[in-house]
C-alpha cells in the first residue's frame, strides 16, 4: 500500500474540479458552505478581508477551530500554514486536514524557502503569479496550484492577471524546440524536467484553480472561462449581504460557467456583494500576492 504517492494527492484535487472551495471561520459558516454545495472548506481564524483590516501577524488557525469544523462537515477540510512554516504544516497533518494551503494570506515564516512538500502525506496547494512560480511549487511537491490573486480585496483583477500569465506561458512553451527548453527553464526559474513535460503535454501536471478576489457568480465564470478548474472563494461569501444565497449562486455559476442565461438567473436577487478595494490603493508592501516567490 502506498499512501504518500503523488497520484493520491493529485487525485483529491481532481475530485474538487468544477466545484467551489469556501473560506469559513466557524462551524456555522462551514455548515452554510456545505449546504450551499461547496466541495471543500478552508478553515481559518479570520477571512482574508479581516486579516487585511486587522494587521499584525497572521498565523495558522488554532487546532480547536479546525477540529470544530471537521466535526461539523463531511466534505474535505483544508487549512492554511505560513509560507516556509513546516512545523505548522506538521501540526495540520497531525490534525488530518485534507489539504494544506501554504499561503501568502498568512505572514511568511521564511523569506527564502518554501516547505519541502514531498515530505508530507497530506497534499499541498500553493499560489502563483506566473508559470515559473507554479513550477517551483510543483517541484517542491505541490499537488495543486492556484492563482494568488489579491486575497481579501473583492477585486478579480490580480487573479485574472495571474491566470492569463500562466496560460500564455504554457502556450509559449508548447511551441519551443527541444534545444530551446533549457534557456526557457532558466528564464522561468523553473525545474527543467517539469518545463520539458509541459512543453510536451501543453498543460500543468497538476490541476490549476482560481483564488483571490472572487466575489460574484460572474467572477467565478470569468475565471473558469480563463482556464481555472475550480474556484476558491475567500471573503466574497461571508462579507456579502446574504452569504447562503451568494454561496449557492457561486456554486451554480462554477458548474454553468459557460451558460450566460443560467448565470443571469443565478445572479439575480443576490443582495450586495462585498465592497472591494482598488488594487492601486493598496500600498505595495501590503499586497499579499507579493509574498513568496
Amino acid at each position: 500500500m502506498d499512501k504518500s504517492s503523488f497520484e493520491v494527492k493529485v487525485g483529491l484535487a481532481e475530485m474538487l474540479k468544477g466545484g467551489v472551495i469556501m473560506d469559513v471561520t466557524t462551524p456555522e459558516q462551514a455548515k452554510i458552505a456545505e449546504d450551499a454545495g461547496a466541495v471543500a472548506v478552508m478553515a481559518l481564524e479570520r477571512i482574508p478581508a479581516d486579516i487585511r483590516a486587522h494587521g499584525g501577524i497572521a498565523r495558522m488557525s488554532s487546532p480547536k477551530v479546525i477540529k470544530a469544523i471537521q466535526d461539523t462537515v463531511s466534505i474535505p477540510v483544508m487549512a492554511k500554514c505560513r509560507i516556509g512554516h513546516f512545523a505548522e504544516a506538521q501540526i495540520l497533518e497531525a490534525l488530518k486536514v485534507d489539504f494544506i494551503d501554504e499561503s501568502e494570506v498568512l505572514t511568511p515564516a521564511d523569506e527564502e524557502n518554501h516547505i519541502w512538500k514531498h515530505d508530507f502525506k497530506v497534499p499541498f496547494v500553493c499560489g502563483c503569479r506566473d508559470l515559473g512560480e507554479a513550477l517551483r511549487r510543483i517541484g517542491e511537491g505541490a499537488a495543486l496550484i492556484r492563482t494568488k490573486g489579491e486575497a481579501g480585496s473583492g477585486n478579480i483583477v490580480e487573479a485574472v492577471r495571474h491566470m492569463r500569465r500562466v496560460q500564455s506561458e504554457i502556450r509559449k512553451l508548447a511551441v519551443l524546440k527541444d534545444d530551446e527548453l533549457m534557456a526557457a527553464a532558466k528564464q522561468l526559474g523553473a525545474p527543467f524536467e517539469i518545463v520539458r513535460q509541459i512543453a510536451k503535454t501543453g498543460k500543468l501536471p497538476v490541476p490549476n484553480f482560481a483564488a483571490g478576489g472572487v466575489a460574484t457568480p460572474a467572477d467565478a465564470s470569468l475565471m473558469m472561462q480563463l482556464g481555472a478548474e475550480t474556484v476558491f472563494v475567500g471573503s466574497g461569501i461571508f462579507k456579502s449581504a446574504d452569504p447562503a444565497a451568494r454561496a449557492k449562486a457561486i456554486v451554480l455559476a462554477t458548474t454553468y460557467y459557460n451558460d450566460p442565461q443560467k448565470l443571469a438567473e443565478v445572479s439575480s436577487e443576490l443582495g450586495e456583494a462585498m465592497p472591494g478595494i482598488d488594487i492601486a490603493s493598496i500600498p505595495e508592501e501590503e499586497r499579499l500576492a507579493k509574498r513568496g516567490w
Binding site: M15, K17, V39, A40, P76, D98, T255, Y256
Partner: protein
C-alpha cells in the same frame, strides 16, 4: 470490438468527469459531459464520476435531474461518489442516493485524505490485478443476493455489478488501465445497445 458509435454521457456537475471522458475517447467511443436533464435520453450509457457526493446530491434536486437518472434504463457506471449516489442507503442525510443498487454505502469509510491509498485489487473477470486508487473512499456493505461482487480489496467489496449498473469505490479514470471501462462498455452497454 466496441462500436465507435456508442455514446456515453458523463455527469458533469463537478468532479473527475473530464478524466472519464478522455478515458472513453481513448477507448474509441463518443463521450460528453451532462449538465442538463434534457441531455440524458440521447446516451447509450451514463457515468456518475467521483467528486463530492453531498454537492452532486444537492444538484440532483436543484437542476431537476434526479428522476431522469432514476428512470434511465440503460447502463450506468458510478465511481466513488458516483457509487455512493447509486447505492440504496448512505446513512447520511446530506446525501440522498438514487437507490438503483441494493447495497449500502458508508462515506469516507477509510478516513480522511491522509488515509487515501493505492493498492492492487483482484478482479472477478480478469486474473491480472488492477492498481486501484482510493481517494477518501467509501465502503460498500450488505449487498442483496443478486448483487455480483466483481472486485475485492482484502475483505472489502470495491467493485460490484447489479443488473446493468456497475459501482467502483476506487478511481479507474485516474489510471491508464482501461479494463474496467472496457468491461462496462463490452458487457453492460454493448448488451443493451445491440
Amino acid at each position: 470490438m466496441i462500436d465507435s458509435k456508442i455514446k456515453i454521457g458523463v455527469l458533469g456537475i463537478q468532479g473527475a468527469f473530464a478524466k472519464h471522458i478522455s478515458m472513453l475517447k481513448n477507448i474509441g467511443v463518443q463521450a460528453e459531459a451532462v449538465k442538463y436533464p434534457e441531455q440524458i435520453d440521447q446516451f447509450d450509457g451514463l457515468i456518475i464520476p467521483g467528486g463530492e457526493s453531498t454537492t452532486m446530491s444537492k444538484f440532483f434536486d436543484e437542476i431537476k435531474i434526479r428522476s431522469k437518472l432514476i428512470n434511465f434504463d440503460k447502463p450506468i457506471f458510478g465511481t466513488c461518489a458516483g457509487a455512493i449516489l447509486l447505492s440504496r442507503n448512505t446513512a447520511d442525510p446530506l446525501v440522498n442516493s438514487l437507490n438503483l443498487v441494493p447495497i449500502d454505502a458508508n462515506r469516507n469509510a477509510y478516513g480522511r485524505q491522509t488515509e487515501s491509498f493505492i493498492s492492487d485489487i483482484n478482479l472477478e473477470f480478469d486474473s491480472k490485478p488492477f492498481r486501484a486508487i482510493f481517494i477518501r473512499a467509501p465502503k460498500l456493505s450488505n449487498p442483496a443476493p443478486e448483487v455480483q461482487i466483481m472486485g475485492t480489496f482484502n475483505d472489502d467489496i470495491v467493485l460490484v455489478r447489479y443488473r446493468n449498473v456497475l459501482l467502483s469505490t476506487f478511481h479507474p479514470e485516474l489510471t491508464d488501465d482501461s479494463r474496467i471501462h472496457r468491461y462496462f462498455l463490452e458487457y453492460l452497454v454493448a448488451e443493451s445497445y445491440a
